[in-house]
């Protein structure tokens, strides 16, 4: 669906159903350099089960126009505005990787709008490897190869995508490479590297929160994910074994099952 946020053309996947602002809304926020396409194995399920879904493309990403936002704070604020732009008062938020920082910021800035928060492959800070950061800022495709290497667990490196015929290392890499790398991945990596509010915000969160962590995540290590979850009062934590950072693809079914239980409990359809 195309709509405008702050006057700029924005795209969000609605999971294959027409958007209905009267249904409970779940907003999915992608990670660095990526787009709505990473969420397809979670969004369609909810969209066909009574929820409204928006897997947004952040400005300058995927099918959204505009320039990439430069800080996590701006991105968090933008997600709050996007919820308002579609005429909704409240939403559940689901973030992956950088999207976890963005959704936490969104809760901090728009607390009344957010009902529940799900963090996948998150950490309270995502400092970047300096070499990877500069490769991304130079639009060097090697940055994407390194990202795909780090993002997939040892099992994920062999493939085994849940959707027959898809090879997930190259799917992720093409989503990033179909944009100018420095304008999306480069900007995003820099924003992650600069962001320092994570621990403070996490300690003050006061809403139902779920963390889904990959036991073999090399982007945001399991121990860092657990530290973040420990900051958050009453956070549910699920660790997926044999899984890296891309749990939403590597172990899409398990991820969906965990998310389903959490959403149905904390943001049920009335």
């Amino acid at each position: 669906m195309k709509f405008k946020v702050r006057g700029i053309d924005t795209f969000a996947s609605t999971g294959g159903r027409p958007f209905d602002k009267n249904k409970p809304l779940i907003v999915f926020v992608h990670g660095s350099g990526l787009s709505h396409m990473v969420w397809v194995l979670q969004t369609r399920y909810f969209a066909f089960r009574g929820y409204s879904v928006l897997a947004v493309d952040l400005p300058g990403h995927g099918l959204s126009s505009g320039e990439s936002l430069k800080t996590i704070e701006e991105m968090g604020n933008w997600v709050g505005d996007a919820i308002e732009a579609v005429g909704c008062k409240q939403a559940s938020l689901v973030g992956h990787s950088q999207g976890c920082l963005v959704t936490m910021e969104c809760v901090a800035q728009h607390s009344k709008k957010i009902k529940t928060l799900t963090l996948m492959g998150g950490a309270s800070a995502i400092p970047m490897n300096p070499e990877l950061l500069s490769l991304a800022e130079e639009s060097n495709p090697k940055a994407v190869d390194l990202m795909m290497d780090f993002a997939h667990g040892p099992a994920g490196h062999f493939g085994g995508h849940p959707v027959p015929g898809l090879y997930h290392l190259n799917v992720g890499s093409m989503i990033v490479q179909n944009k100018e790398i420095k304008d999306t991945l480069g900007v995003d990596f820099r924003a992650c590297d600069n962001y320092k509010n994570g621990p403070e915000i996490a300690k003050n969160l006061n809403l139902p929160t779920l963390s889904i962590l990959g036991a073999q995540d090399r982007m945001c290590r399991l121990k860092d994910g657990k530290i973040l979850a420990d900051y958050i009062k009453g956070s549910e934590v699920h660790v997926i074994e044999n899984c890296g950072h891309m749990m939403l693809l590597e172990e899409a079914d398990q991820t969906l099952e965990i998310l389903k239980k959490f959403i149905l409990k904390n943001d049920p359809i009335k």
Binding site: D145, H157, F158, G159, V163, Y167, M174, N178
Partner: protein, 436 residues
């Protein structure tokens, strides 16, 4: 700092398969089943509606076939793949996914004969027309594009003339026109060339050939590069507009770099059904395990054969992109640095009769209508596959009476030569040599 993702040879042995998810079985299990149990009705509904991944019915997907799809996809550097019952069905499914009645394709004229028939005779029945362009005529591809053209299709090294299509240049033409470039890479395999690195958007293979190498099974595959933007223009409504078959799903919006394969499976495979048998997928996978080793030897044996034939008194001419003086040698060195494959065409002195005598008197080389077997194969088109054709028609197909087509195998080079010497001896006195 370098990425530690697996490289080509490792992928050819491992990509797409995790033993831990298959009872620890080191070899890939053959899932000889038509259908798959649902957990409950919710699970069934979710699978049917593409909400989650998994298998429903083996026409649509099968776990053994899935490994083959991912493996070839990994080797090609693609995002998604769809395996089919044969190379022809891969090509047909690709065109049927791309085109509607009233559409048009621009196609290289030097193709496998079956593919020529498909474009020339069968696709027009569905309202899809084709303009053929000679592979070396790069500008010709541009000139042939019409407003309703939906793609450019070609084989990188044409058969049997061994003329090269300038893939990087033709891909620029396709990009400018906002249409995809589709390459049949059967003769190259991803070991010799990865067309996505040279601007192709979709790749098809007959896996029946070098990919398997064992000559046991028919199979084909479509691989998507994930590079083509289907939404850049309004030429591909079935990819970009809501599709009724899946509650108004827009494949391009939802699946981006895998949209074409998702559509080809969800519509083409669902409705036309040329699915690959799991046993055949397994046989092909077995071959792919040794792809690099085999292709290396195919190419080195082919180089030796080119040298041997070029210096043979009974040979009038030799065509192979590595041969001295081949007009595409420079281009071949650029896009096929590891070798130009193992297909050789040569002219035998003495014309049609000599050709027939040669074929009838080789014993090691197999006389049959396939290519890319691990064994050496020969055929004399003028007296076999194209025996009904007159001189002019032969010429149009790039054939001549004296041409022998050779697919060089992995035997010891000396044994192939000894066999050929018998053939050449017989060809010198064709009338004295009766049919076997």
């Amino acid at each position: 700092m370098d990425p530690k993702t697996y490289k080509f040879d490792t992928l050819s042995l491992h990509a797409g398969y995790q033993p831990s998810k298959n009872a620890g079985s080191r070899q890939i299990p053959i899932y000889q089943t038509t259908s798959y149990m649902f957990d409950d009705v919710d699970h069934a509904a979710a699978l049917f509606n593409l909400e989650r991944g998994g298998h429903i019915y083996s026409r649509m997907s099968n776990p053994t076939v899935q490994v083959l799809e991912e493996r070839v996809c990994a080797l090609e550097g693609g995002t998604a793949a769809l395996a089919t019952a044969s190379g022809m069905s891969a090509i047909f499914l690709t065109i049927m996914t791309l085109c509607n009645a009233g559409d048009h394709m621009v196609v290289s004229s030097q193709l496998y004969g079956g593919t020529v028939n498909l474009f020339r005779l069968t696709l027009p029945k569905f309202g899809i027309k084709t303009t053929f362009v000679k592979p070396r005529d790069t500008e010709g591809f541009k000139k042939a594009i019409q407003p309703n053209t939906k793609g450019i299709f070609g084989e990188l090294v044409g058969n049997p003339g061994n003329e090269l299509m300038n893939m990087p240049e033709v891909s620029k033409i396709a990009k400018e026109a906002g249409i995809p470039l589709i390459i049949d890479s059967t003769y190259q395999t991803p070991y010799l060339c990865r067309p996505f690195e040279h601007g192709a958007d979709l790749v098809v293979h007959s896996l029946t050939k070098w990919m398997s190498g064992n000559g046991s099974s028919m199979a084909g595959i479509l691989v998507e590069g994930g590079t083509f933007d289907w939404m850049q223009n309004d030429k591909f409504p079935s990819m970009t507009e809501p599709y009724e078959g899946y509650h108004g799903l827009s494949f391009a919006e939802e699946f981006g770099p895998t949209a074409f394969t998702m559509m080809a499976r969800a519509e083409g495979m669902r409705d036309m059904g040329p699915c690959l048998a799991p046993q055949n997928a397994w046989n092909i996978l077995h071959g792919i395990e040794t792809l690099s080793l085999r292709m290396e030897k195919h190419c080195s044996n082919a180089l030796k054969m080119v040298d041997y034939l070029s210096n043979h008194e009974s040979v009038a001419w030799v065509s192979h992109a590595s041969a001295p003086g081949h007009p595409d040698k420079e281009l071949a060195e650029k896009i096929l640095p590891k070798g130009t494959g193992s297909m050789i065409a040569f002219g035998i002195k003495g014309g049609k009769e000599a050709g027939a005598a040669f074929i009838n008197n080789v014993k090691l080389a197999s006389h049959l209508a396939n290519v890319g077997d691990a064994r050496t194969l020969v055929i004399h088109p003028a007296s076999a596959t194209h025996s009904q054709m007159d001189e002019a028609t032969l010429k149009f197909a790039g054939l001549s009476h004296d041409m022998i087509r050779l697919s060089v195998g992995l035997e010891d080079f000396e044994d192939i030569v000894n066999d050929f010497e018998d053939g050449f001896r017989a060809a010198k006195k064709p009338r004295l040599v009766a049919n076997k």
